[in-house]
């Protein structure tokens, strides 16, 4: 990387001139389309006016996301152990479940759970229940795969040591293997959690009542879509970004801890 940077600097100041021109051209093109009168007339007090609705909606979004991740993680760990240790038919069923839920969009799953599943089960679910079911089932599929890689990354010696000590199977998994596997999967788990936080906005297509649903409602009711949606975009960005940095921190701490122990 250093080499390319130096090369770009040395060989062509041209590249800097061209890049500056390109950047200015892009900015100018965008500004050319901007209607400045509309921007001058923006009125962000609407955000303050509906602050409690927003707070409640943010709470709902976080609640839905964390429920999906926590239940998904538990189910995912069980499914991962089944994939690794279960009999062949069980393994095939679990793999099929994981592949189907990972390779279809969340929107289709959401609508399928809401509109098609009642035909099969005969039980009607509310929008919130459908959203939770779809998110949890998808996160379980993703986390199965992550938990599997984590479990497989635990060195073989740990299994052998647990067996040599004569630990029962339950204790072997819960006390020895899973804690180490969880530590390995924390970075991808955090990425998935941020992804699901972003994806929860999709639930607004069913009017589940989370942040994006309320945003659409407020924007329609007050006729101030720009203020409301820009604010909500910033909220999503800030929350997602801070989760992401937190995950990096966590990865750093745990990573150095592991390196020290080795």
């Amino acid at each position: 990387m250093l080499a390319s940077k130096k090369a770009l600097r040395q060989s062509l100041p041209w590249s800097y001139i061209i890049s500056t021109v390109i950047a200015l051209a892009v900015i100018a093109t965008v500004l050319n389309f901007v209607n400045f009168k509309a921007i001058a007339a923006l009125d962000f007090t609407v955000v303050y006016q509906y602050r409690y609705t927003f707070l409640w909606a943010i709470g709902t979004t976080l609640g839905i996301t964390s429920t999906a991740i926590v239940i998904g993680l538990i189910v995912g760990i069980v499914l991962a152990v089944l994939i690794i240790q279960g009999p062949r038919p069980v393994r095939m069923v679990v793999t099929a479940y994981v592949e189907i839920w990972r390779n279809t969009p969340l929107i289709v799953q959401l609508f399928w759970v809401h509109f098609a599943m009642p035909v099969v089960t005969g039980v009607n679910t509310t929008a919130l229940q459908s959203g939770l079911i779809a998110m949890t089932m998808q996160s379980a599929a993703y986390l199965t795969d992550i938990a599997r890689t984590g479990i497989l990354a635990v060195p073989k010696g740990q299994y052998e040591a647990a067996e040599a000590l004569g630990l029962p199977t339950w204790s072997k998994w819960v006390d020895i293997i899973l804690p180490q596997a969880l530590r390995i999967v924390i970075p991808p788990l955090a990425t998935i959690a941020v992804g699901f936080f972003k994806a929860s906005a999709i639930l607004s297509l069913l009017s589940v009542g989370e942040l994006m649903t309320q945003t659409k409602n407020i924007a329609t009711y007050t006729h101030k879509p720009i203020e409301v949606m820009t604010f909500v975009g910033l909220v999503y960005w800030a929350l997602g970004y801070s989760f992401g940095s937190l995950a990096y921190k966590l990865e750093d701490i745990l990573g150095s801890d592991q390196r020290a122990r080795r």
Binding site: T20, A23, V34, N35, V120
Partner: protein, 220 residues
């Protein structure tokens, strides 16, 4: 539970039309995303200067924003803030291209940075000019390293394309909803659409996994 699958055959042209719209959306977004992403990647590699700041801002913004917010923002706020009012179809293409570009810029940057330093030095030592170092040595290796994540980007875009049904682009999910509410056969239509999406997405995620495993074998 009684299901009537012949209804799918009855409405086959609507479903196929939706499928075609989805594919066209993803294809257009991929092509323009590659162009925008390559430019943003160049900016990111400069490490300073206006193009670097612009592309960093662009990449960070569009990777962190939920796609739903982006689609609604462009569709509902665009006509007020900009002098141009994009149609639903244009909104879909623009928002998907912007997202694809942001993700592709990061993929390309990671690919170029994964080429080891010795390759740069060796290429220069042989006396290649800067242009041919890029064309003959760096880019071929970078593209190979980019393949798995590029395939995943396609799956991600196919998944995102369903979102634009919310603003009325007649792609697969929109068709399934409309036909479902028309005939009250939600189960058949949504199952069919789910299968179609699976057929679209699964080859790409399999390809990504195979390429990755193959490359790991070659290295290890």
């Amino acid at each position: 539970m009684n299901s009537d699958w012949s209804i799918l055959y009855q409405y086959r042209y609507e479903i196929l039309g939706g499928l075609w719209t989805t594919i066209a959306l993803v294809g257009l977004a991929l092509v323009s995303g590659y162009i925008v992403g390559a430019l943003a990647c160049c900016g990111k590699l400069m490490r300073t200067g206006p193009l670097y700041w612009l592309s960093t801002f662009y990449i960070n913004t569009f990777r962190a924003l939920p796609e739903t917010v982006l689609v609604f923002w462009i569709y509902f706020c665009g006509p007020f803030i900009f002098t141009a009012a994009p149609s639903a179809w244009q909104t879909g293409v623009i928002s998907m291209s912007l997202v694809a570009g942001a993700y592709f810029a990061e993929i390309a940057r990671a690919g170029i940075q994964s080429v080891s330093r010795g390759q740069w030095e060796a290429a220069r030592a042989v006396g290649l000019s800067e242009f041919w170092v890029w064309i003959d040595v760096i880019i071929p290796q970078a593209v190979r390293a980019m393949l798995p994540s590029s395939a995943l980007l396609v799956t991600q875009l196919v998944k995102m394309s369903g979102l634009v049904s919310a603003i009325g682009v007649t792609e697969l999910i929109y068709q399934a909803q409309t036909l479902g509410s028309l005939s009250f056969r939600y189960f058949e239509f949504f199952t069919a659409v789910a299968v179609l999406y699976f057929i679209l997405i699964f080859p790409f995620s399999m390809a990504s996994r195979f390429i990755e495993a193959h490359m790991r074998q070659q290295i290890g």
